[in-house]
Structures are given as structure tokens and as C-alpha cells.
Amino acid sequence: MSNLFNPFHRIAGVKALVWGEFFTIALSVLFIISDVAQDGFMHFTLLDTAAWKVLLMNHLAWLIFALLLYIGGAAMSRSRVRIIDVVGTIGFSQLLLIPMNAGFYIPAWRASFAESINRIVTGVMPQEVSMLPIVAMGVWSMIWLVLFVAWSYNAFCVSCNVRGTKAVIKFIVAWVIASVAVTQLAKLIYL
């Protein structure tokens, strides 16, 4: 059970980095096939864009967050922090982004979700729009997002040997900075 929330007692370093790269490429391929793009740190949208842009954004989101955690962890840890452990474990957490965005690649779900969104955007009265696909997508994504937060926080704790209030604050700060930075970069890249 503990492995479900913290697999990093078992995997880190180069092995996690290789898996992280594999998961990021797999996620990018699914995004390219389904015309999805990452336009924020934990924000994804339906967007038909160049494959290299999707690949670049997915990598940037991972690396920026990992680097921010490394800087925060190295500053407060009494252990010798290896950047490969931080980048690797955060990379391994990218696995959760694949099921998180399942609603985008399952055709029936995607179609009903897109239709509901289109109807709202085109000004159809909310009571005439089926909210079920949107709510289902929200709940589904939220479950995986919570697990992603748990994994990435545990990745930070294990790879930097930090814990407690200071670690939580540094993690939140890294998350906020990454959110701002990735959103700004997405605007530049998808222009």
C-alpha cells in the first residue's frame, strides 16, 4: 500500500529517469494523436498544434518543476542531494498524467465532453447542456491529480531527505512558480 503513494523507496536515480522519459514521450504521443496540449503546469486543453511543441512543453513542465524542487531541497537538506534523483523521481510521477487525461483519448468520452464544452461556449443555456461528461472528467482528473501531488511530494522528500513544514512550504512555492513559468512558456510556444 505504501508503494502506491510512495514508490520512490524502491525506484530513483537513472532507472526512474529512464522511466520518466518513457512516460513523458508516451504522454506526448497520446496528446499528439488526440490533439491535446499542456497549456499550464497541471492544465491541459484541446489544441491542434505541432508535435514538437507538445513534446517540448511536456518536457519543460517536468524539468522546471524538478529543478525548482532541487534548488529548494538542496538549500535546506543536510544530505548530499543528487539532481538525477530529483529529476528522475519527478519524471517517474509523469506516469500519473497518462490516466489523468484519459478523457481526452477515449473517443466517446472526449466527444461528449467536447460537445458539452462547445454548447456552453456557443451560449446554450446551462440547463440544456449535459454536465455529466464535464463533471466526470473533473472528478476523474482530480483523483489522479491528488495522487500526482502525493507522488511528487514524496519524490521531493525521498530525493532531498526533507520533511516537515519547511518541506511542504518549499513544495508549494515550487508548484506555484512552476505553474506561472509553464503558463507563460506555453503562451510563447503555442503562439
Partner: protein, 123 residues
């Protein structure tokens, strides 16, 4: 040279021999019991570090009484002691220890750092 022993001396000699056998059996039994139990290092009622008051020779049953502080190693938790022994067995290689325990490298490194911190606090 022939030494004539009295009946009393023969009985005394035999009794001494029986006593040695008895002590051997008793010590073997005690040893088995000891290895099954962890040595307590903290007081169960106030959590203060315990001290050794009596030492016993298993060969002749001599008791030494005093007040001896536990060595630093003994004041670590049993998990930490096991970890350090295993670390030495791996010639101080964290990578090897991680592979042996099926744990990631940063996990064993954190365990070592936490043990070092504990040792420093014991000082």
C-alpha cells in the same frame, strides 16, 4: 605417586563436576533466551537511557557490579544497528546496500544520514 582420596573428597569432586555440567546447561539455556530478546536501551517508564549495572562471566559465573554507560552503538535503535552492520558488510557501498535491500539509493542514503544524526545526538 598414589594419592588416596577420602570418600568425602570423592563426593565433593563429583558434586563439583555435576555443578559444572549444570552451569553449562543453564548458561546454554540462558544464552538461547537472551538471543531471542532485544536488549532494552531505554527505560520503559521514563524513556531515559538505561545503564548497565551487572555483568556476568558465563565461564565461572562471576558477577561484576557497577554503573556502566552503554556504548554509542548500543544506544542506536535495533533497526539502525542492523543497518550499520549491513552497511559494513557491504564495504560501505550504499549502492550495494540499496540493491541488497531492494531500496532506492536516496532511501538508503537518507537512512545513513538519519543514523549519523542520531549518533551525533547521542554524543
Amino acid at each position: 605417586m598414589i594419592i588416596a582420596l577420602s570418600a568425602a573428597q570423592i563426593i565433593e569432586h563429583d558434586l563439583h563436576f555435576i555443578k559444572i555440567i549444570f552451569n553449562f546447561v543453564k548458561q546454554t539455556f540462558n544464552f538461547t533466551t537472551m538471543t531471542n530478546h532485544k536488549m532494552p536501551t531505554l527505560c520503559p517508564s521514563c524513556d531515559e537511557t538505561l545503564k548497565v549495572e551487572t555483568l556476568r562471566c558465563e565461564g565461572c559465573d562471576t558477577l561484576v557490579k557497577g554503573c556502566y554507560a552503554l556504548p554509542r552503538f548500543m544506544r542506536l535503535t535495533s533497526e539502525e544497528q542492523e543497518f550499520l552492520l549491513e552497511f559494513i558488510e557491504c564495504s560501505g557501498s550504499l549502492k550495494e546496500l540499496a540493491a541488497r535491500r531492494s531500496l532506492s539509493y536516496p532511501t538508503v542514503r537518507n537512512m545513513l544520514d538519519n543514523t549519523i544524526d542520531h549518533l551525533k545526538n547521542i554524543e
